[in-house]
Amino acid sequence: MKKRLMVLLLALAMTFNLAACAGEPKKEEVAEVPASGEVIKETEAPSYKIGIITPTLSSSEDEFRAGDNMVKKYPGIVKHLTFPENVNAEMETALSQIVSLADDPDMKAIIIASGGSGYLPGLQKVKEKRPDIITITAPIWDDPELMAKYVDINLDTDWARRGVTIVEKAHDMGAKTFIHYSFPTHLAKEVISLRKDTMKETAEKLGMEFVEVVTPDPQTGDGTAPMLQFLREDVPRQIEKYGPDTNIFGSNCPMYDVILDEALKLKFLVAEQCCPTPTQAYPTVMGLEIAEEDSANFDKINAMISEKAKEAGMTGRLSGWPMPVTIFLPEYAVELAKYAIDNNSNLKEDVLNKEFLDKFAKDTFGVGVDFQSYQQKDNYYMMIMESIFY
C-alpha cells in the first residue's frame, strides 16, 4: 500500500512539473506581447523560434558548430539541441527530443542536421501534432520516398552526381588514372557503391584508368588505424606504378589525413575529398595555425591552404569546396526557414524551386551552389557547390 501511495505521489509530482513546464512559456509570451506592442525594435526577439538538432561536438564537429553559430547569429530565435552521443543505441531519446521541440507554441520550424537515419518518425509526429511547423532535413538519410511525403523540405549533397563531377574535375586537372579507396561496410551502402560505379563509367568515358583498392575496414573492429597505416604503405606503391598524374579518392573522411599528407610528398592529384571541406584534413596535414577569431572564416583558411600548397609546389593540384557542406547545409536550412517565416512565404510556390534555392545560397553565403531536385520530387533538393582550386 505504501509503495502504491509513493508511486501515486511521484506521478502527481511529475504531472505538476510537466504542467509547470508547459505553463512557463505562456507567461513569457504574455510578458512579451505588450513589450513588442509598445516599441517595435529590430533587436527584440521576435515571437517565433527555430529549432535545430545536431549531433554532439565529439561525434560531428561541423554540424554542431553550425547550430552554435546560428544561435549566436539569431539569439532568442534559434534553439539548438544535440542528439545523444550514441544515437543508434538511443534512438528513442533522439525521437523524443525532436518531438519535444514542438511543445513550444512559438516553434515555427524544426531542422535536423545529422547524416544518419531513423529520425523520420520524429518529424512525422511533429507534423501530426503541429501541422504549421516547417520541417527541414539537412540532411538525414531515411527512405527518400517517405521523406518527400512527410517532410516539408529535404536538402542533401548530391552524392551520386558527384560520381560524374569529381572524375571530370580530376580529368581537367590532368589526371590519367583515378584510384578509388574504400572498404566493405562502405561499399555495401547504396549511395557509395552507386557513386563508385558512376565514377568508373565516367573515367572510362574520359579515357582514364580506374583502379579500385579495398582497405582494411575501420568499422569492423580495430578502428581507423589499420586502414590509415595501409594507405601509408599502399599510396606510394600506387603512385610509383601509375605516376603523379593520378587522382586519389577515398570514400571515408579520416583517409584524407594520410592521402593529403602523401599528396604533398608525392605530388599526385586530389580533386575532391569525399566530404569536401577546407576544415578537414588540410589543417591537420598542413599544420595550419588558425586564430580563434578566424575559426569560421573560410576565405582566410582557404588562403592559408593555397599558400601551403604553393610552398609544396602543389598549386592547382588540390581542390575542394570553399566551405564545408556539413556547415553550409544546416546554416542554409536555418536561414531558409527564417526567410520563409519572415516573409510568410508559400513554400511550394516561392521557395521550392531551383532558381530561388541557388540564388538564396549566393545571396546569403556568397558561394555558387547548384541544386537539383531528386527524382523529380518537388521538395527534395540535392546540391553541388562550386570548386575552389588551391
Binding site: L57, S58, E61, D62, R65, D68, F183, P184, L187, E212, V213, V214, T215, P216, D217, T220, G221, D222, G223, T224, A225, P226, L228, Q229, F230, R232, E233, D234, R237, P254, D257, V258, D261, T279, P283, T284, V285, M286, G287, L288, E289, I290, A291, E292, E293, S295, A296, I301, P324, I327
Partner: protein, 345 residues
C-alpha cells in the same frame, strides 16, 4: 624459460606467411619494399607489445587496459607539441613526460587491479574503455595554446589527429638508415626497440625480476615465502603502463599523427594477438615471444591486403582477408589448446 620449442601456432603462421610471400612474388609487387616496410611495422608496434610483458609476468594477465598507458603517452606527446619542441628533444620530452604521467596512471590502475585479483583481463578491458571518455573530456577542455593542434572551426579543444610533421615525424624511422642494396634498415628505430627489449630481458635476470616471475607462477607460494605480492604487482603494472606510454610515442612518430579521442580504443587487441602468436600464455611471456609474435602478425597484415587486392574481386577482398587472417590465428590457437587439453584433434 619454459617455451623454448617452436610451437604449432608459429609454424602455421609461418607457412601462411611463406605462401603470401610466394604470391607477392608471383603478382609482381616489389618484395624489397615490403620487407623494408615490415621492419618499420615490426619496431613501431613492438614496444606496445613489449609493454604487455611486465604485467603478464606478475600474474596480472594481458594488459587489456593498455589505453590507460597510451593516454599517458598521448598527453606527453601533446605537451611536447604545445611547447613546440622539435626533433630529438621533442621526442625525448614526450617520452619523459608521458612516462611520468604513466607512473601516476599506473599507480591508480594497479590499485584497481590489486583489489580484483584473478579478473584482471576483463577489469582491464573495462578500465581501458571507460578511461577513454574521461580522456575525451580532457582533450576537449585542456587549455593548450598551440593552434596547430586545436579544432579549426571552433578554435577550442584538440583536433582528433595532430600531425607530427613539424615536430618529430619519423625521427626514429629516418635517422641512421642503413642501405644495403635496395634494402633500407631503420637502424635507430630497431636499435631503440631492441634496447628496450634488452632492458626488460635484463630486469628478469635481477632479483626483482625473479620475484616477479615467482609471483606469476605461484602466487600462494610466493606469499608464503614472504613476498609482498601487491607491491610487486604494482611495480609490474606501472612498468607496463610506462612502456605503453613510450610505445605510443614510437608508434606515433612512425605513423605521423598523434591520434587522440577514440584512437587508443582498440590498440590493446592487435598487441595481445601478437604476443599470443609469439607463444606467450596469460601467465608467462618472454621478450623473444614479443619479437617473433610482432614480426609474424604485422607482416601477415602487411602482406595480406595487397595480395588480396590483387587476386580477388575488390568488393570481397577485405571480408575474405579478415576471415583468412583471423581464421588462421584462431586455428593456430585451437590446435595448440586442443592438443593440450583434449588430446589430439
Amino acid at each position: 624459460m619454459k617455451n623454448k620449442k617452436v610451437q604449432i601456432p608459429q609454424i602455421i603462421i609461418c607457412i601462411y606467411l611463406l605462401i603470401l610471400l610466394v604470391v607477392v612474388n608471383v603478382i609482381g609487387i616489389p618484395i624489397v619494399g615490403i620487407i623494408n616496410e615490415s621492419f618499420i611495422k615490426w619496431a613501431m608496434n613492438g614496444v606496445l607489445v613489449l609493454s604487455l610483458v611486465p604485467m603478464i609476468n606478475v600474474g596480472a594477465g594481458m594488459n587489456f587496459g593498455m589505453p590507460i598507458g597510451i593516454s599517458a603517452g598521448l598527453i606527453g606527446l601533446c605537451i611536447a607539441i604545445e611547447l613546440r619542441l622539435q626533433g630529438v628533444i621533442g621526442f625525448i620530452t614526450a617520452m619523459i613526460v608521458g612516462s611520468l604521467i604513466a607512473i601516476v596512471f599506473g599507480l591508480c590502475y594497479s590499485k584497481i587491479l590489486n583489489r580484483l585479483k584473478g579478473k584482471e583481463e576483463i577489469i582491464g578491458t573495462f578500465a581501458g574503455f571507460s578511461f577513454i571518455p574521461i580522456m575525451n573530456f580532457f582533450w576537449t577542455l585542456v587549455p593548450f595554446k598551440n593552434r596547430q593542434m586545436l579544432y579549426p572551426v571552433g578554435g577550442k579543444g584538440l583536433r582528433p589527429k595532430i600531425s607530427l610533421k613539424n615536430y618529430f615525424e619519423g625521427i626514429l624511422d629516418n635517422s641512421l638508415v642503413v642501405k644495403i642494396g635496395e634494402f633500407q634498415i631503420p637502424v635507430a628505430l630497431i636499435l631503440f626497440f631492441l634496447i628496450l627489449c634488452f632492458l626488460i630481458q635484463y630486469l628478469y635476470r635481477t632479483r626483482v625480476g625473479h620475484v616477479m616471475t615467482a609471483v606469476s607462477e605461484n602466487e600462494k607460494f610466493a606469499q608464503i615465502s614472504g613476498v609482498n605480492i601487491n607491491k610487486y604487482r604494482t611495480k609490474g603494472i606501472i612498468l607496463s603502463t610506462i612502456l605503453a606510454a613510450i610505445g605510443i610515442c614510437v608508434y606515433s612518430q612512425s605513423y605521423g599523427f598523434v591520434e587522440l579521442y577514440d584512437g587508443p580504443f582498440m590498440m590493446a587487441f592487435p598487441a595481445v594477438s601478437a604476443i599470443l602468436i609469439g607463444g606467450a600464455s596469460s601467465k608467462s611471456a618472454t621478450v623473444k615471444q614479443v619479437l617473433i609474435g610482432t614480426y609474424l602478425l604485422q607482416t601477415t597484415y602487411l602482406l595480406s591486403i595487397p595480395v588480396a587486392n590483387a587476386i580477388l574481386v575488390p568488393e570481397i577482398t577485405e571480408v575474405l582477408r579478415m576471415i583468412i587472417t583471423n581464421g588462421i590465428i584462431l586455428y593456430a590457437f585451437l590446435y595448440k589448446g586442443g592438443s593440450k587439453k583434449y588430446g589430439k584433434i
